[in-house]
Amino acid sequence: MTSTVAGRTTAATANGVGSSPARPDGTRKVRGEFAYSSDLWHEDMLWGATLRSPHPHARITGVDVSAAVAVPGVHAVLTHGDVPGLNRYGLEHPDQPVLADDVVRYRGEPVAVVAADHPETAQRAMKLIEVTYDELEPVTDAEDAVHGDVAELHPGGNVVRHAPIRRGEQTPQADVVVTGRYEVGMQDQAFLGPESGLAVPDGHGGVDLYVATQWLHVDQQQIVAALGLTPEQVRLTLAGVGGAFGGREDLSMQIHASLLALYTGKPVKMVYNREESFYGHVHRHPATMYYEHGATRDGRLVHVTARIYLDGGAYASSTGAVVGNAATLGVGPYDVPNVSIDCWGTYTNNPPCGAMRGFGAVQAAFGYESQMDKLADACGLSPTEIRRRNAMSEGTVMPTGQTVDSAAPVAELLDRLEGMPLPQPGSTADLRTLPGGVSNTTHGEGVVRGVGYAVGIKNICFSEGFDDYSTARVRLAAVGGQPAVTVQTAAAEVGQGLVTILQQIIRTELGVEQVTILPMDTSIGSAGSTSASRQSYMTGGAVRAAALKVRGALLSHAATRLSRTTAELHLDGGKLASVADGVLADLVDVLGEAEFDETVEWRHRPTEALDPETGRGNAHVQYGFAAHRAVVDVDTELGLVKVVSLDCVQDVGKALNPQAVVGQIQGGSAQGLGLAVMEEIQTEGGVIRNPSFTDYLIPTVLDMPPMNIDVLELADPHAPYGLRGVGEPPTISSTPAIVAAIRAATGKELLRVPVRPDHIV
């Protein structure tokens, strides 16, 4: 865009909001030159190792570290007694021991940590630690944990949270009623970079920690409490993050490495291997859901009744918030007059579960979208028609009583999906397009095609009254004859491209091309977590607000010097310009020696807690919507599924970076495909049976089809630039759309994801 004014032209700053400039970290990542947290190195550093419980539930009766301590090269072997502060941590409740004291509640729970001068020495010493256990009966079923006669795993019982939602009539009458029991298996975030970090003691009792995480400040709070230090003594810097998807919201090695570093006086590095990583982070809550949908004969929803059980595993993590989401979003993107939902999050002796992309909303969507298809069948309507008849829109009142006050284009998403061309029948020439792919299982015989639709809803940003904010500092000065901006935040770049977005925002607001994003650390205030699809909204909002303050200060500085009013001035393409006279000066000259430096703490509008009895409350700040159409070919003879196409329409409010939006939609859809047909952590009696990428299957390029993606930009007036969080919604509708398509092809009920060949043959 150019504006021609008074014969002089200012070129709009390139690479601003709405464009897709190259990522600052892109080239290095593609070339393998980017330093991830596992590449951290320090002269003289020690290597940490973690001894973990082999039992899902046991009482510790003794720990003998003497043999381990005696190993040459070992500098420290620490157990719970060596934790100087509170031996508990947790995102929402501090219920998880840093190192187990009396009881272990899941297999893989840390019991002791070792530091040695070589990783292999640390591993060997670790194996010499003798721990004696009295094994206890594990609690492994979430429904039993709530209603059954089982051991209480924590004081106060096994219910982490029960969230009821009540709206309208509680004993409604409907012409058509469909019910179902649905299950969602435990999914892993499967990020590629395992947990790792480096703790460096400062020689004065404090520590600097370099770590791959999602939320520096909440890590810091928990570490400080465990170490008995002040926040000034525990400084965190974000190291290169190899993916997160929620799995880095909880602590892994942070306290352990810091503890070892302080104890030994030496830098300590810890890196999990893949197997340990499966024990070292939380997973997606497995769910069991009982749904009843009632409708009029013509398919208008009368009521939804549901009981949802989410297995939180051994410790609370973010179970409370996951329960809140599953409950409040439990009817999906539909207008339902009468609702009765009960959602429980429980303690069991399964691996702890917490945040994962789409959390709470993913599980519920498999339930309610399966039900919508059943209802469509019962009413003789098409899957899209039943959804359109019940689609929510702007102004719809949610089951919580909250009015949706910005675009909710559910019907339009469906219309656009239906308008997309359907893929041609599979070509038998290219095996990769057929079920089984290059396994040579079919050349087209026995293959049946099915089509399925699903829509999903997700809350964006933190909900339920949480004081959600982000802090940003923006500094503008002339550097080397050019105007240059540095941006400082504590927002974790986990691979999603936030650093690019922040640069774009500065270019748009200050007309400055050269933008440096400083390393993210705790020397500035919190940015909140890189989760809940919130960083573009929150840290983007904070950076924009700080940039506007800088612009305000700069323009009044310039206005005074040039005897103009600030209202007539603007910044573009490195120039100061006026509406009437075009370019007035190069920005670098206006700046001179001056420096503009502003820090802002930015909040979205407040939300409310849910009423604990009725679930009423304006709990969410924004809703995001996506819809998928899946086309599958199923080899009914062998039970193999090929997802032939997976098309998506999503409203993103405003695409700050269109390429990043498409990337999020592709990635989220792939993760949904994984849950639909292959991804599951197999647990048995609380023990993970497939803690490796050989046995835990994630989709490869051969499993993921090309996608048609249609992005709507219906601005949300409450959000910066009108944007709507992008990252999670595409994960939510992908899974039920694929399963619906498999049902359409096979006629099978398919009440559980992932769907496996076993369920089809």
């Binding site: 396994s439 040579n440 080899d635 062998l638 197999q682 023990v687 299957l697 490869t700 496996r756």
Partner: protein
Amino acid sequence: MIPFEYRRADDVSAAVDTVARNPTASFLGGGTNLVDHLKLGVATPEHLVDVSRLPLDDIEPGPDGGLRIGATARNSDTAADPDVRSRYPVLAEALLSGASGQLRNLATVGGNLLQRTRCAYFQDVTTPCNKREPGTGCSALEGYQRYHAILGASRHCVATHPSDMAVAMVALDATVHVQGPNGSRSLPAEELHRLPGDEPERDTVLEHGELITAVELPPLPFAANSAYRKVRDRASYAFALVSVAAALDVDDAGTVRDVRIAFGGLAHKPWRAHRAEAALRGGPATDDRAARAAEAELENAEPLAGNAFKIPMARGALTATLRRLSPLPTTR
């Protein structure tokens, strides 16, 4: 991982001697299976004799017109060999359906044959497993069973052999050449792997110190009409739930003159389907007869609670494979 000594062998008999004389020594091929087991603590050899650079990697015509594949030929090279591809496509397909390109570049014929089960309990040293620690019990009997056996298992072990390549070799009537401390011997590939019986710790009939030197494929002209099909949870890079290797010889009228069939994923060894072969010979290769042949083979199947799906899956896989190899119009 326990400390071990590593030595690269440059001579077959010295390698055999070193390992045969030392019960804590092991051959090392490409290491793609054994090194994993070292890390997991499943294998604890104190001496590794690396045989992967022995001059045993030739693929050349055998004396009787077959094909002799050296034991250290890499899986990628074997799959790419022009003779293998044209004369024994089932073997090339089986190899290419296994593992990943990177792994196949390292994996050897000998190591592939002797790779061990993927049973989750076998790989988890904290659980009882008769194969890893005889007498401790079989965790899979009450556990996770999707990948386990439905044929020829015992109450001591219900594991399956994971190799794809071996299934093709068994179907092709291959011969395995072995060099031991007391000389060399040859045995049919079908007899290399054992059923678990009450000694599940023994995967094969080989004695400690016996080195596989080559696998020989007989001249089997109709093997040019052969295929490998693998049913798995993901389109690539996953082990078989069920697989079929088949070669089919039909006359112009569509009558089966001869056929070779072996199943993977069903048993403790690649399962040569003699009953199915007999049921097919002499009649047309229709879907119906293929299904009935599979049923004849699976008549004695004893599925576990968690893997009954393998019966219809194996039937489907055999039907689909033969349909592909048969010139008859499909009858579905």
